[in-house]
Amino acid sequence: MKTLFVRGPSLLSRLVLALACSFLLIFIDHRLQAMQPVRLFLNSLVTPVQYLAILPEQILSGFSESIKTQDQLSDENQRLKKQLLELQGQLQQFQFITNENKRLRELLGSEQRVPNRRMVAEVIAVASEPFSQQLVINKGTLSGVYEGQAVLDNRGIIGQVQDVGSNTARVLLISDQSHAIPLRSERSDIRVLAQGTGEIGRLQLMFVPHSTGLKEGDLLVSSGLGGVYPEGYPVARIRSIVRDESLPFAQVQADPISALDRVRNVLLLWRSDDQQQPIYEDQPDA
């Protein structure tokens, strides 16, 4: 039998060295935040693993797509056509209101609003650790995705881009314990700060005075104040307000508008004043 470590350092010194490496990594990555280039490289390196992991699911869904009956397809087609019609109707109204808004803003002499640019991305993985609520999407630096970018789904804001690889990006969800988002009540314009609780589907509003004018059921939209998220997108709805006078602030819980645990497709937003701009594969869809 081979003896253990005939050459090289002893097991204990290897342990000390490896522990030192781990602590150093944690320190550099967390405290100094200096690992971004390394993270970019490593993210690109592990991309094949992520794509391999979703391969069975993709094959299965492709298979189930191919055995759909004609009836099902025509039903779906009908439904989508109807939906498209409704949305187009709403869009006409939207155009009209946008133009009106532009004219009014000109009259008031305030700054023009410029439309955001968008790109659709697909969710390829969810982090399975309870300490971090994250998604991985299939667009990266090659598509112009950048760190701190706002990510939406069809109902509202879901989070921001935390790390980017060349073909993937990691999205930190608004329900993550380390994430907070500035919001505004749509009804009363009260500004609040919503922090994630680590539990999907629950946000906590911070520093809300007991005398607040917020009500249960109020819609909270992004206020655009932090500079990360664009203004006016729906984020959460207030579920409960507990006014316990023994605590310094009212305990306000809110439910995110989007079902964060069921997101499949997301929308990436680029503001027109961003340095990075989307790079589309074929032709722009926005």
């Binding site: 342990l15 490496c21 944690i26 592990v46 309870p130």
Partner: protein
């Protein structure tokens, strides 16, 4: 120059990493065995002169990047459990398979406690009991994984 069997080793690590991030229904997700640690523990037990701290560190960092945690957190946990197995591999090999499985459960538990504690230091993570359930499923899967990997090791003559 690659030593004999390096390719096999890398392939088993790759499969473990893929299984770690493969999307699963939420009901199974909480019980997902700790594949990477299981495979790592097997190789440390089988060929400790070849697979030890360095491999643990690399697999830990890859897990960190795949799971999106702060770099070094999983590496820390894996390095510590690897040390225990590499230190006592001869004793460990003499245990029966069920006894090994119980030890594996404790090692995975230890690794998860280290990862959890690191997360508490980093950003005040809240305790979630479900994070520790995979220790038991990992032990159950050890009963199947150990013979499988032994067969692979003998077939491809990894030494």
């Amino acid at each position: 120059m690659l030593k004999h069997g390096t390719f096999t080793l890398i392939l088993t690590y790759l499969v473990a990493l893929v299984l770690m991030v493969m999307p699963m229904p939420a009901a199974f997700d909480t019980f997902r065995p700790d594949w990477v640690t299981l495979v790592l523990l097997y190789w440390v037990l089988a060929i400790p002169h070849r697979v030890n701290m360095g491999t643990a560190l690399i697999l830990g960092v890859l897990s960190d990047i795949l799971l999106g945690s702060v770099l070094g957190v999983h590496a820390l946990g894996m390095v510590v459990v690897t040390y225990f197995v590499a230190r006592h591999f001869q004793r460990f090999r003499n245990f029966s398979l069920p006894q090994q499985a119980i030890l594996v459960a404790f090692l995975i538990l230890l690794k998860r406690m280290i990862v959890f504690q690191a997360n508490v230091f980093i950003h005040d993570a809240e305790f979630t009991a479900s994070y520790f359930w995979p220790a038991f499923t990992s032990a159950v899967f050890w009963l199947w994984l150990f013979p499988l990997l032994r067969k692979i090791r003998r077939h491809f003559k990894v030494a």
